[in-house]
């Protein structure tokens, strides 16, 4: 188990290093000067030069890359070009929206998907199965931002149950905070839950046809007992993989939803920073997201080993 974890850890480090280089190079290539963007069309050359010097843009790209990576190793993600505040503080502030939103959406998605998937698999071919399959088909097909707009129309504009967006901040209380995140979380969760339910169902159906389930049934276990005791645990590997991927997706992929609901989260930050060519903020936030994804995958790898003892010895 330890060697397995160590190996994963090394590959994690290499992934991060490669990612940092790719991110930096990609943004180097993108045309657009942050200083020119900030000062606009009437800026004088000497003013531009003064700002570029202050932002450190007059240094060579390798020097800037080195400074960035060195800073990151000590936990310093740099100073935003536009906001002029440490990027770390910005990430921490935005995470207070994005992380709860991702967790909320994932919880909703899991809470919907597990019962639906298990139920559909247990009653394969029944009405329940057909309904679950039909609804999830729809859920996968509907784009989440469109579904979000639809919910805003119904619940915010017509019924006035929720505000159309925005976030009051946690200092306003947990209740109002969660309420503000509910529509976005539902919008994010619906497609995720649909995918997860389908995976859950097919993984269960597959394990249910394995020999050891037949053996278990032959020993006298009921269909339900066999499902809960033997099939479910074995069906968890693909489900865990999907949950891991979904969490990464939710954390990094909320840009559109955050814009639809004008939430001050990480996605919105990246969106604004790209337009303003706040390169250091984009680089650091993307790097942070890569880090989060890699760490989640690492955790999922460990979880595999936990649910499937065979993996511990094999690698």
């Amino acid at each position: 188990m330890l060697r397995y974890a160590l190996r994963r850890l090394i590959s994690l480090g290499v992934t991060l290093l490669v990612a940092s280089l790719v991110i930096f190079l990609a943004l180097e290539v993108v045309p657009g000067d942050p200083a020119a963007y900030m000062l606009g069309v009437n800026a004088r050359p000497d003013t531009l030069a003064a700002l570029r010097a202050e932002l450190g843009l007059d240094q060579t790209p390798p020097a800037r890359y080195a400074a960035w990576v060195a800073g990151m190793l000590t936990g310093d993600l740099g100073l935003s070009y536009t906001y002029r505040t440490p990027v770390v503080d910005m990430i921490v502030e935005r995470l207070q929206v994005s992380l709860p939103l991702a967790v909320y959406a994932l919880a909703l998605s899991t809470l919907i998907a597990f019962p639906a998937g298990i139920w559909a698999a247990a009653r394969r071919g029944s009405v329940v199965d057909v309904v679950v399959m039909g609804v999830t088909q729809l859920g996968v097909a509907i784009p989440n931002f469109w579904f979000a707009m639809l919910m805003v129309l119904v619940f915010s504009i017509n019924l006035r149950w929720f505000s159309a967006g925005g976030f009051p901040g946690w200092e306003a209380g947990v209740g109002p905070g969660l309420k503000a995140l509910t529509l976005p979380a539902v919008a994010l969760a619906l497609p995720q839950a649909s995918i997860l339910a389908r995976i859950m169902r097919s993984a269960l159906i597959e394990t249910l046809s394995e020999d050891y389930i037949r053996t278990a049934r032959a020993k006298g276990l009921s269909r339900g007992q066999a499902l809960w005791r033997h099939a479910l645990r074995n069906a968890m590997i693909p489900v865990l993989t999907i949950i891991g991927l979904q969490f990464s997706f939710l954390l990094a992929g909320v840009i559109i939803i955050e814009n639809v609901f004008f939430l001050p989260g990480l996605g919105r930050l990246v969106f604004q920073a790209i337009a303003a060519r706040d390169l250091i903020a984009v680089e650091s936030v993307v790097m942070f997201l890569v880090f989060a994804v890699v760490v989640v995958n690492f955790a999922v790898d460990l979880a595999y080993a936990w649910v499937d003892p065979r993996l511990r010895g094999r690698r």
Partner: protein, 491 residues
């Protein structure tokens, strides 16, 4: 029984009084968020929208009609030769942090803006200043190197507001000004809150609190206004939804003019656009009304030169560039392009450019000119078009007030180089007599229209959607400001 009834009555009356007492907070929706909160070191219009007149004030200030009036300077004297401006400052003014406003703050602000290391996006506003002297606590003497008829106008810009040396280091996060509102809080990515300044030197604001909420997505903006999450949305980004708001008694739609001359800019140094006949042909191929209707949903006033039609010195030159595709074809044939030619059309993100660009491309195709359209982000546009001058045609709105002076800069991105125009502009800068200034401005407008430097399309209009009970909002935008000092709720 009686006391109980009295109490009941008192309770009901209090409730009624509370209901009748007008609302005193306001939520304003804005599409763009300020990058930081120092109006004197960035071009972003969003900074001025939140802070101009509300938090920061200058020596002079713009009124709702674009006129320049006294701000922190109560009055001023101008020397005979037009070189020395003596400003008499208001007494008893203090900054929000409690420090006193006096002549030293004015000197500090102006010197900082024209300093070698200044990061002022409009440094040109201060380039004529030779020295700034503190005469006494409430008197400042500014000496210019040459007479400048536009000096008081320049001092009204958001880039020329007065800041204090005591609070300058934190200005980008915690702006400290002298205005009717104090900066309270900024939740980045979400909102900025201002509260009423109880110690304001002038008429206090009627609102106790104002929140600016940043909603960039047009659909989200629509939903936020419809759900009454925001009370007013200046520069509402979805003009296609305006009829819906107009029909709804809960809302009022105010359509105002801006300082944005929207032009089809042409690279005057690039073949074949360096030929005035070709530029003239392009201009005559354009049907402005079709663009205003098709791209702007009818909002916008056609212009025939680079000047705001609401300005008293505007000259109507629309006839000179009327829609006439036959004339276009003839001109192209004369210039040797009877079969047309191909050029680039680079479009920045705003819808006037993206939507307008498609329509212009079709109109140009009708006279034989093919365009290769490229959509650019602002940062790319600045790099490629504005700085790199790598373009044939582009569409952009020049939003600075009274900015005809850009035609006197031969290195400006459209590269118009006319000695005659440059002389006129130099004469205008030195002229302080209003009548002569008007004459000069008129000839300058004619000059650029006759040279067909750019295709002048329309003056950008700005729609504000607001709660029907709100009063005192600016309708026109003489500068990018959302002045809340006179805003109040009825009922």
């Amino acid at each position: 029984m009686k006391p109980f009834r009295m109490a009941m009555l008192a309770g009901v009356m209090t409730m009624a009084a509370m209901a009748a007492h007008a609302k005193s907070s306001l939520v304003v929706g804005l599409q763009l968020e300020p990058p930081h909160l120092d109006p004197t070191s960035a071009a972003a219009g969003a900074i001025d929208q939140v802070l101009y007149a509300n938090v920061f004030e200058g020596l002079t200030r713009f009124g709702a009609d674009g006129s320049v009036g006294p701000g922190l300077a109560e009055s001023w004297d101008i020397s005979e030769d037009g070189l020395i401006y003596t400003f008499h400052l208001r007494a008893g003014v203090s900054f929000h942090d409690g420090t006193t406003f006096d002549a030293r703050d004015v000197k500090f602000s102006l010197d900082r803006a024209r300093d070698e290391n200044s990061q002022n996006a409009q440094k040109a506003l201060f380039s004529g200043i030779e020295s700034v002297e503190v005469v006494d606590d409430l008197t400042v003497r500014v000496t210019l190197s040459a007479p400048d008829g536009g000096f008081l106008f320049n001092m009204a810009w958001g880039d020329a507001v007065i800041v204090a040396s005591e609070s300058i280091t934190e200005i980008k996060q915690k702006p400290v000004g002298t205005g009717a509102f104090r900066f309270e809080d900024w939740v980045q990515g979400d909102r900025i809150t201002l509260v009423r300044n109880p110690d304001y030197w002038g008429t206090p604001a009627q609102l106790e609190e104002a929140t600016f909420k940043f909603i960039s997505d047009p659909t989200a903006a629509f939903a936020a206004v419809m759900a009454e999450d925001v009370d007013a949305f200046p520069g509402f980004p979805a003009p296609e939804n305006l009829p819906q708001f107009e029909a709804d008694p809960r809302f009022q739609v105010l359509v105002g003019s801006t300082e944005g001359e929207t032009v089809l800019a042409m690279n005057n140094k690039l073949k074949p656009l360096d030929d005035v006949r070709v530029r003239k042909a392009i201009v005559h191929a354009i049907d402005r009304q079709a663009i205003i209707d098709g791209a702007m949903f009818g909002l916008g006033t056609p212009i025939g030169t680079h000047f705001a039609p609401h300005h008293p010195d505007y000259v109507d030159l629309l006839d000179q560039s009327a829609y006439d595709p036959e004339l276009s074809k003839k001109l192209l044939a004369e210039a040797g392009y009877a079969d047309g030619f191909t050029t680039t059309l680079k479009l920045p993100p705003p819808s006037y450019a993206r939507r307008g660009g498609e329509i212009i491309a079709a109109q140009l195709r009708a006279v034989g000119i093919e365009t290769e359209i490229t959509n650019l982000e602002w940062a790319q546009w600045l790099e490629e078009v504005f700085r790199g001058r790598d373009f044939g045609l582009t569409i952009v709105s020049h939003t600075e007030p009274l900015d005809i002076g850009i035609y006197a800069r031969p290195d400006y991105y459209f590269q118009y180089d006319s000695a005659e125009f440059q002389e006129m502009y130099a004469a205008l800068t030195g002229e302080t007599d209003p009548a002569k200034r008007s004459d000069l401005l008129a000839s300058m407008q004619r000059r650029i229209a006759e040279d067909y430097v750019n295709g002048y399309l329309f003056q950008l209009a700005t729609p504000t959607v607001a709660n029907a009970k709100l009063r005192g909002l600016w309708i026109d935008m003489p500068t990018q400001a959302i002045d809340l000092t006179g805003v109040y709720w009825t009922e």
